[in-house]
């Protein structure tokens, strides 16, 4: 089905889509290169190439051992993690907006993010007490991530149970269930902040604001494959999602297995977003804004929007993280604040622009 639609593309799209995606990929590589160079200890472009070349075995002599350590144990995992999370958020946002046929849908709206946040917050506040009782619960330092992931999946499960009826899922009820879960999650988080000690409160707030500061290679090895799998799954469904824009009934009449499409996409989003919230906290607006940008510049075709939003999301996260690290150096801003600060006014501008075009 996807192939048939690909061949049906009108002339100019067939040329524009590869160009836009290629341009975005090149821009992403460039921004990643710059992000690797900036920081409290500047590394220039030549040194960067030398370091990477040495690691890959092309160049005999690397740079100084200090630069080597900064690059490979701090900056590279951090940049890769930011790229993976950005790609997951961008692709998830565009898949959800397609699935809900609503340009305001986003992983945070569905309640996945707040479910994951609640899971992690429970661990931050009660974790120390729990590990004192049962030391194996620390799970080698990954307990918070596992708690966040479990929270995200649990929220999705509850939302699905609430909105499913006679084997079908109503998209309108799904959205309302998401709002209810968000309200519940917000209240529970508020209660946890009230109960937490000073140190826990600081941990909680910092994590809730979102940051790539905790990047490790372990996190990268989990999130990079997750991002790739998620983008591949969504891209394979892009043609069907286009048909889904006609409405659920129309998609059904055209032979789309609507229920399976919804189940697969929502579960993959829950997995991806649960994982990314677990490692980096709440990073807002990437999932909402990137699909809009793609649609504004290249049209609503999901075969462009999904891979494009993944690339652009990665680019924005890496860029925002680089700015967050350098703006108040040697301290750093939580990157979630930065994405919201830039994303929210930008989104308002998009809305105003769109209205002006419509009337």
């Amino acid at each position: 089905m996807t192939l048939a639609l690909a061949r049906l593309q009108t002339g100019w799209q067939a040329h524009v889509h590869p160009l836009m995606l290629g341009g975005l990929a090149a821009a992403l590589l460039l921004v990643m290169g710059v992000a690797l160079c900036v920081g409290p200890m500047p590394i220039d472009g030549a040194a960067l190439l030398k370091l990477l070349g040495h690691k890959l075995g092309f160049v005999a002599a690397g740079a100084s051992p200090v630069q080597d350590a900064v690059m490979f144990s701090i900056r590279l995992p951090r940049v890769l993690l930011a790229a993976a999370v950005g790609a997951i958020l961008g692709a998830s946002g565009s898949a959800l907006q397609g699935l809900f046929r609503n340009p305001l849908a986003d992983p945070a709206l569905l309640g996945v993010s707040s479910g994951a946040a609640l899971g992690a917050a429970v661990w931050i506040v009660f974790g120390t007490a729990l590990t004192a009782l049962l030391p194996w619960l620390a799970l080698g330092g990954y307990a918070r991530a596992v708690a966040a992931f479990a929270g995200g999946v649990a929220a999705t499960f509850v939302i699905f149970r609430l909105s499913g009826r006679q084997g079908r899922t109503s998209v309108a009820t799904l959205l309302l269930a998401g709002i209810a879960i968000n309200a519940l999650g917000g209240a529970a988080l508020g209660l946890l902040t009230y109960l937490s000690s000073d140190r826990e409160l600081r941990d909680l707030t910092y994590w809730l604001l979102g940051s790539f500061g905790g990047a490790t290679w372990h996190a990268c090895w989990l999130l990079l494959p997750a991002a790739v799998v998620l983008c591949v799954v969504f891209s394979r469904h892009a043609g069907v999602l286009n048909i889904f824009m006609l409405g659920e009934n129309e998609a059904h009449y055209l032979g789309v297995h609507v229920q399976r499409l919804k189940t697969v996409l929502v579960l993959v989003v829950a997995l991806g977003v649960g994982l990314s919230v677990a490692f980096t906290g709440m990073i807002s607006f990437i999932g909402l804004v990137t699909p809009h940008l793609l649609r504004l510049s290249g049209g609503p075709d999901h075969r462009l929007v999904i891979p494009g939003a993944a690339l652009l999301g990665a680019l924005l996260c890496v860029g925002a993280d680089a700015i967050a690290r350098t703006l108040v150096s040697p301290a750093e801003l939580p990157v979630g604040i930065l994405t919201a600060l830039i994303g929210a006014p930008f989104f308002m501008w998009l809305l105003v622009r769109q209205r002006r075009l419509e009337f």
Binding site: L8, N242, I243, M245, G255, R295, G299, P300
Partner: protein
């Protein structure tokens, strides 16, 4: 043949359709009429396989709709719903091209040709590059019709007949396009397609239908040729309006003049 047999459906203890038999036959245009809430759309959705009846069966060529492969069924029957809104601004061409998605084997060039032919059939070819969301309601309706026409566009390799289910296809259209669209549906029926159309305009139904089914309170009240179906007593019993019926000298079909029932 596409048919529902003894189909009943209830929702929240309310009987929506009860013991309905409807058969869409290849080569014939069946028009379904009835007052608001009579269950016409539900009957159409049962025929499409979107809804499953509590009792009774829905079959295409003797095989229950639920046992058909989704895409195979989509190649055999197309459905036009009452109102289709699009979430994002696809072009008119892209919307109609979605109707060809169950036909990957046809190839891109043939499918593009069919998309243009379907747009020409509803008089919308000049709008192919326009954003669907900027069209008027009537124009959007015609684009959706082009999409369902493209979905079951005649194909010399195909031997089994196709079915077209139209839920109020001309509501909101001007007279010229109402007649253009119904006569196109009739023309499809002449070519061997089975067509069901839900209509509210009784004169339009009388002029074009091969058979008429009247629904009332979730049941089939009467089924037959327009000449049999349109009598003043039946129209009064089904719709609660008084009418005077004559035979039009040119079309030789019943022609109705109606007025509100006097208290």
């Amino acid at each position: 043949m596409l048919e529902i047999t003894a189909a009943s459906l209830s929702r929240a203890n309310r009987r929506i359709v009860h013991d309905v038999n409807l058969a869409v036959r290849p080569g014939s245009l069946l028009v379904l009429i009835g007052p608001n809430g009579a269950g016409k759309s539900t009957a159409l959705r049962l025929l499409s396989g979107e809804l499953e009846s509590d009792e009774g069966s829905a079959c295409l060529d003797g095989l229950a709709l639920g046992h058909w492969h989704r895409e195979a069924l989509a190649r055999r029957r197309a459905v036009l719903s009452q109102r289709v809104t699009l979430a994002f601004g696809f072009s008119v061409f892209d919307v109609v091209a979605m109707g060809r998605s169950p036909h990957p084997e046809c190839g891109g060039a043939a499918n593009r040709w069919i998309v243009r032919a379907a747009l020409a059939a509803v008089d919308m070819l000049p709008f192919a590059a326009r954003d669907y969301q900027t069209l008027s309601g009537g124009e959007q309706q015609r684009v959706q019709l082009a999409r369902v026409l493209a979905q079951i566009w005649p194909d010399e390799r195909r031997t089994s007949p196709c079915y077209l289910l139209l839920d109020e296809p001309v509501t909101g259209l001007d007279p010229a396009h109402q007649h253009a669209i119904i006569s196109h549906a009739q023309c499809r029926a002449r070519q061997g397609c089975g067509v069901l159309a839900v209509l509210h305009d009784l004169n339009l139904a009388s002029q074009y239908a091969d058979r008429v089914a009247i629904m009332r309170d979730g049941q089939i009240f009467h089924q037959g040729t327009p000449e049999e179906a349109f009598t003043a007593e039946r129209i009064h019993a089904a719709f609660g309006v008084s009418s005077e019926i004559s035979v039009h000298p040119r079309t030789h079909r019943p022609q109705l003049v109606m007025w509100a029932q006097q208290a």
